[in-house]
């Protein structure tokens, strides 16, 4: 049953133009900045691009676009309406859609973060292989968390317009006292950026996992009817 429910969001991600355009555009931007950093000989090139471009800009917008593609540009509940019409439980259809979006965003996040760590590698950065691996982990965690965050946003509004509000909220709250509630602050902490939450890396990892789980649960619950 789960595999059957996964077919639709998976097909939206793999066959739709939107997902490829989003992934291509933001990946190219990240790699372009990484190439520039390397060309300028930045000693902390990888750190600089990962925090300033990937964590702050590319990963949130990449996840925003991929979640939109996975739900077909609608609200999360209406995105599964055609499955519900064949007898699927609405919450199950939503949960599987969130899972597929999270896996897609995690994979894309890991690829972009690892690639940038290698391309923008500077003299003062850690060893390339280890840095790429660590960056891939953080990229995957951040991508997955953002997917769940935007999925919850997509449960608000007739056409899922709440997703855009959650994007703005992440930007606004991510640097304030409310940062602990957003993926942005935790992701930047993990990438080595300034911490708005004053949490350790390990705590930020746990917080991201917890945030992703909470958002996914709330989103699926909101789609029960």
């Amino acid at each position: 049953m789960t595999a059957a429910l996964a077919r639709l969001p998976f097909a939206r991600l793999t066959r739709g133009v939107a997902a490829w355009v989003t992934t291509g555009a933001w990946t190219m931007l990240a790699f372009a900045v990484a190439i520039i950093a390397r060309a300028r000989g930045a000693v902390h090139g990888a750190d600089l691009v990962l925090v300033g471009t990937v964590g702050a800009l590319v990963l949130p917008l990449l996840a925003y676009g991929l979640v939109g593609a996975a739900i077909g540009g609608r609200s999360l509940s209406t995105s599964g309406a055609s499955l519900v019409a064949f007898g699927a439980a609405p919450a199950s259809a939503a949960a599987v859609t969130i899972a597929i979006a999270a896996v897609g965003c995690a994979a894309a996040g890991a690829f972009v973060a690892a690639g940038v760590a290698l391309v923008a590698h500077g003299l003062a950065d850690p060893a390339p292989a280890g840095d790429a691996l660590a960056s891939a982990y953080v990229g995957a965690l951040g991508g997955g968390a953002y997917a769940c965050w935007f999925s919850l946003g997509a449960t608000f509004g007739r056409r899922g317009g709440g997703r855009a509000l959650f994007l703005v909220a992440d930007w606004v709250l991510g640097t304030t006292a409310g940062a602990i509630l957003t993926p942005r602050a935790h992701l930047l902490t993990l990438l080595g950026g300034p911490s708005a939450t004053h949490l350790s890396g390990r705590s930020s990892s746990v917080a991201l996992v917890f945030l992703a789980g909470a958002c996914a649960l709330m989103a699926a619950k909101r789609c029960r009817t």
Binding site: R12, V84, G87
Partner: protein, 318 residues
């Protein structure tokens, strides 16, 4: 409670529901297997009632039981096919993948996809992406899935002949009847009195969200046909050029009080339907023209309401 069946498969008790501006007010009725029509305009609540039966709208109060289960239960959902005007299929898949997915979700044995579609003459669509289908094709594919499913026991079809693929329209009435004879509950919601009387054995009339009356097609229309010059006979010609000659011959028939020229046809109006049919036959012989089809045009819902006392009477459930 208006109950026309014993051992009902669908039972609605004091249902109150709302979607946008459309409301249903304390609707109580039941249906068993067979073909049934909900007659009324969209704003009268037919589509809302169907959405409630399909578990897509949560009732504000009252009970809706489908096949012995709550309408929103997974067990009921799997056995209900709801085809609204704006039907949707899983958009990123091909038609054959949609049918395979539906088979899995409904928990039924796999069938040949092309054969399922062939029932409505849609086999050419089997490998088309859903995104490339016209709205009428989407509805027809959804209907083919419903009519060929081994699991579906309730078919809810909104406006059967509107936004429907032309290949499916001709086969639709018989297939709905066949499905009903196999034990399914087939419910159509329509604003067309003609479609309702053609497709369904009995009718419920909704008006502004209230159940007005239940009855057979003839009950609903009897008053209309008896009142004034309401009989309208459409004479479809084999040769469009014969229209002038036939119109002249019809004008000489006493039973005909008015004639209207249409594309490839004439519409004769009179007081008595039988006399009108005889007059058309005489006129065709007199003019020496070939007639392809004679058909009585049903009244529109507004006409029927305006002229039929039965349709103006509202019997609110107590």
């Amino acid at each position: 409670m208006i109950d026309g069946t014993n051992g009902a498969s669908i039972a609605i008790d004091s249902l109150v529901a709302r979607a946008g501006r459309t409301v249903l007010t304390r609707v109580s009725l039941s249906w068993g297997s067979g073909t049934h029509a909900i007659l009324g305009a969209r704003e009268d609540g037919g589509p809302l009632l169907m959405a409630t039966l399909a578990g897509r709208v949560v009732p504000r109060s009252g009970a809706v039981r489908v096949l012995g289960e709550a309408a929103r239960s997974p067990g009921a959902r799997r056995q209900v096919a709801h085809i609204p005007i704006e039907a949707s299929l899983p958009d990123a898949l091909r038609v054959d993948e949609v049918l395979a997915l539906a088979t899995t979700l409904r928990g039924e044995p796999t069938q040949d996809h092309a054969a399922r579609l062939a029932m409505l003459g849609l086999e050419a669509l089997v490998d088309r992406p859903v995104r490339s289908l016209l709205p009428g094709e989407v509805r027809a594919v959804a209907l083919a899935e419903a009519l060929t499913s081994a699991r579906v026991r309730v078919v809810l079809l909104e406006e059967p002949f509107v936004t429907m693929d032309a290949r499916a329209i001709g086969r639709l009435p018989q297939l709905l009847r066949d499905r009903a004879e196999q034990g399914a509950v087939v419910i159509v919601a329509t604003a067309s009195v003609g479609d309702a009387s053609d497709l369904a054995q009995d009718h419920v009339l909704l008006r502004r969200g209230t159940l007005v009356r239940r009855g057979g097609a003839q009950d609903l229309l009897a008053g209309f046909w008896q009142d004034g010059n309401n009989a309208r006979l459409r004479v479809v010609l084999r040769d469009e050029d014969d229209g002038r000659a036939l119109a002249a011959a019809l004008a000489r028939q006493p039973a005909v009080v008015a004639i209207e020229r249409l594309a490839g046809a004439l519409c004769a109006r009179g007081r008595d339907a039988e006399a009108l049919a005889r007059a058309a036959g005489h006129a065709a012989v007199e003019a020496g023209v070939d007639v392809a089809e004679l058909r009585f045009d049903p009244p529109s819902l507004d006409e029927a309401r305006a002229r039929t006392p039965l349709l103006q009477t509202e019997t609110r459930p107590s």
